[in-house]
């Protein structure tokens, strides 16, 4: 579920290098039962987590017949991959590309608003005093722990009342409200930005706004990247909100589009019409749908850690 993306932050943010210097390497005698069992556990779960992903990669290269007859973990052919791609883009005339474009549009517009609203807010919660600060902080924490799906039906009622159902904003604006990002920013500035530095700037005559722009923002690059990462992943993978808000299939983000494709696969839905989607095409569509997030995952691994290292050494 998308909200689960909240989880991994913690260690991303955890002190880089904590434990890395520990001399845990110890020479061990030959394998004992106490080592076989844990090893087996790791391998069983490795298969559980990875096998479906590998299968998905391979399924996109097969024809439907190959998918059924061949070894599940065999490679099909580049030709079949090409055909699946052509068939997929042929579905309702390139609609998959439109869905991808929609997903990107919703995710990035929301991300921009999230950053513009959230980074200053997290900064202010950490570095300034103002009336209502604690109340805002506690509210942020509580809302952050609530799953995003909680408010979907009430949000629909609200957006419906202002006649925005089906518009870009019906999805983008609720996405933009991202309390977890504010919390991450708050934590980041609390620990990584020395207050003395700001005080020095103030004594030198900086206004609060200048202090934020000249001192806090340049130091905030790691947390901007981090908030951007989580916000993007959460928005890209959201299903329920756009499913409810967007009535027209040409407005769907790719996640909701996958559901539409699924209903056209005869093996899963015998009532599928003539515009049947073959299973390898659905597998390819799934791959295409997740590829931006997957790329961000692979790319962010190194980038985020180095960003956090930069943040940590400032203390």
């Amino acid at each position: 579920m998308p909200t689960d993306t909240a989880a991994p932050t913690v260690t991303r943010l955890a002190p880089p290098g904590a434990g890395r210097s520990r001399p845990r390497r110890r020479r061990r005698p030959a394998l004992a039962a106490g080592q076989i069992l844990p090893g087996l556990l790791l391998i069983v779960f490795l298969v559980f987590f990875v096998l479906p992903v590998i299968w998905l990669l391979l399924a996109a290269t097969k024809t439907d017949a190959q998918l059924v007859q061949d070894n599940p973990l065999s490679f099909g052919s580049w030709h079949a991959l090409r055909q699946n791609w052509d068939a997929l883009t042929g579905f309702q005339g390139d609609v998959i590309l439109l869905w991808l474009r929609n997903s990107a549009l919703y995710a990035f517009v929301a991300l921009a608003i999230t950053l513009v609203a959230g980074i200053p807010a997290g900064y202010a919660l950490a570095m300034t005093e103002f009336r209502g600060r604690r109340a805002l902080l506690v509210t942020t924490l509580v809302v952050m722990l609530m799953p995003t799906t909680t408010l979907v039906v009430p949000l629909f009622l609200e957006i419906n009342a202002v006649h925005l159902i089906g518009s870009l904003w019906s999805v983008v604006l609720p996405y933009s409200f991202y309390p977890f990002g504010v919390y991450l920013t708050y934590i980041y500035f609390s620990t990584a930005l020395p207050r003395d530095l700001l005080d020095a700037a103030r004594i030198d005559g900086c206004t609060e706004f200048e202090a934020f722009c000249r001192i806090a923002l340049p130091l905030a690059v790691p947390v901007i990247a981090l908030v951007g990462f989580f916000s993007f992943v959460a928005n890209w993978t959201n299903y329920f909100l756009p499913y409810v808000m967007l009535p027209e299939s040409n407005q769907y983000p790719v996640q909701v589009g996958l559901g539409l494709l699924l209903t056209d696969v005869p093996q899963f839905n015998p009532t599928a019409g003539t515009a049947a989607v073959l299973r390898p095409e659905l597998a390819l569509a799934t791959l295409v749908a997740i590829s931006p997030v997957l790329i961000v995952f692979l790319f962010a691994q190194r980038f985020l850690i180095s960003g956090l290292l930069a943040g940590a050494t400032k203390e």
Partner: protein, 309 residues
């Protein structure tokens, strides 16, 4: 010192120190900095909650309806089964999370080869990229014996067709499995980080006293992980009550085996969009809202997990 939800940063911030100049200037600037966020919080956090509550307590003619929407929704023949489904799913999912995430984090932490450990953690985490509808697509294939790489395993269990695998009695387990597949990797990374924060001296002292690996895990590591485990269970519980995308997609792909009213959120959706009864829908939404609000508020205020000074 953990940057994320942990206390400890307070010591580096003498906020109570009297600094009148900044306090006065910060007062205005602070409000300006949070203004955009507060608008979003109000418009998409507070207003919809209030609006949902309004609908839940009124009828279609906009008159106050007391609890009648709640009682009527609860009397619907689909309501109790949906509560039961969600409860069953939650039990399986939470138990699996606690047992396997803790065990895997401990085992990974013991691994002498750090590079392999890091790679394995990353591989466990990858399915997180397939959160949402994509995970359901993948698992539809995994559970279809005609194409699944685990088809021999499925046949061994006596399931030869897709319909047999996803029969209604299996759904709670299957949804828990999908949720575990996408979410557990992230939690394993978190638990691993928490294990790294346990001072090595404590573990060394125990080792010198003759504690074995199992005893160290049971008497030192697991107790010290407890607040993280509680955090995980609370978040997973709140998320789990919201079950929607998995049953919704399965219902569209299951040859009619799974209904469109498996979970409470689906029922709320159906009330709103199939039965045109937004008041019943809002009543269910408010119930789910109260559950997650109470859980979150109790956790934030009681656990001292977050540094909200």
């Amino acid at each position: 010192m953990n940057l994320a939800p942990v206390t400890g940063s307070a010591s580096t911030r003498p906020r109570r120190a009297p600094r009148p100049i900044r306090a006065v200037r910060g007062l205005k600037a602070g409000h300006a900095f949070v203004a955009g966020y507060v608008v979003l919080l109000a418009a998409f956090g507070i207003v919809p909650s209030a609006y949902g509550i309004y609908f839940a307590f009124t009828n279609s003619a906009n008159y106050f309806a007391g609890l009648s929407n709640f009682t009527a929704a609860a009397r619907d023949f689909r309501y109790l089964p949906a509560v039961g489904h969600v409860a069953g799913y939650l039990v399986i999912w939470l138990v699996a999370l606690v047992v396997f995430v803790t065990a895997l984090a401990l085992v990974l932490h013991q691994l002498p080869a750090r590079r392999i450990g890091r790679l394995v953690r990353f591989l466990y985490y990858i399915p997180g990229a397939l959160a949402g509808a994509a995970s359901v697509m993948v698992w539809l294939f995994m559970l279809d014996p005609t194409v699944s790489p685990a088809s021999s395993f499925l046949r061994l269990l006596g399931y030869g067709t897709f319909g047999q695998v996803i029969e209604p009695g299996h759904l709670a387990v299957l949804f828990a499995m999908i949720a575990f597949w996408t979410g557990a990797g992230g939690w394993i990374v978190v638990m691993y980080g928490a294990l790294n924060n346990i001072p090595l001296d404590v573990i060394d002292a125990a080792r010198i006293d003759g504690a074995g690996r199992w005893q160290i895990a049971r008497r030192i590591q697991i107790p010290m992980l407890r607040k993280w485990i509680v955090y995980m269970v609370i978040l997973a519980f709140a998320t789990g009550t919201q079950l929607f995308v998995e049953p919704q997609l399965i219902s569209e792909a299951s040859l009619g085996v799974a209904g469109r009213d498996y979970s409470l959120n689906q029922l709320s959706y159906d009330f709103a969009f199939q039965n045109n009864n937004v008041n019943y829908a809002a009543a269910i939404s408010v119930e789910l809202l109260v559950v997650s609000l109470v859980v979150a508020a109790v956790f934030v205020t009681r656990s001292r997990f977050f540094d909200a000074d």
